[in-house]
Symmetry: C2
DNA sequence: CAGAATCCCGTCTGATACTG
DNA sequence: CAGTATCAGACGGGATTCTG
């Protein structure tokens, strides 16, 4: 089978900002700067792009309240919530194994790894 | 909590070539060009880089047989196999939902999409 | 066969400044 | 507040050539 479309898709949803954004939206709708704050380390531009891409793919919905100052709320669609499951598992794996990976990484500068 | 190290790690293992490589190694050890062929669309350099990174992180082990012509075999370590689980779930999600995502994407073709 | 080295381009990403 | 516009550096990733 041809893996190109799949790997392209993986490259898109596997993107770290996408994963973080979806994960953060799991416990409810969030506003732009709120998201930016809790994700941490993401630039305003990257958050905008990530949200646009997610919205375009139908994973996140964007709701604008025509108030002053403007208020925009982002939330997961049903499809987005279904993606959150496997992404959460991936995050769990990272949390459980990041220490060992980093140990391996520093070891590899001294001797060849098994 | 600080999400930076986590998102960095996610960006590394979420990389499409990494996901494809680990997935392909799931059903047994593979040689370099064999991997390259079944992954499809990956350049020699990217496969080399991906395998080096995986080896360095202790997710893949590299075994060299000093024959002529040289033969190198890559296989998953225990840690690598544990990562394969969540990655497989992600791949399954892609397979199940790629059609809907692409439908959403074309529907939203209001302005420049990639 | 399994790479290493090199060149090169497009994309990602952050920083900064500006707007409705 | 929630963006858009622009610049610039880092990085991803392909193509090609060369070696043990």
């Amino acid at each position: 089978m041809d893996c190109r479309p799949i790997s392209q898709m993986l490259g898109r949803i596997g993107d770290k900002w996408t994963i973080m954004t979806i994960t953060m939206l799991l416990d409810g709708p969030k506003r732009f700067n709120e998201l930016r704050r809790i994700i941490g380390g993401i630039s305003q531009q990257m958050l905008t792009r990530t949200l646009r891409a997610l919205e375009n793919d139908g994973l996140v919905s964007r709701k604008v309240y025509p108030t002053i100052p403007p208020q925009v709320e982002y939330s997961l669609t049903t499809l987005g919530r279904s993606l959150a499951e496997p992404l959460t598992q991936l995050t769990v794996w990272v949390l459980e194994n990041i220490a060992e990976v980093e140990r391996n990484r520093s070891k590899a500068s001294n001797r060849s790894v098994d």
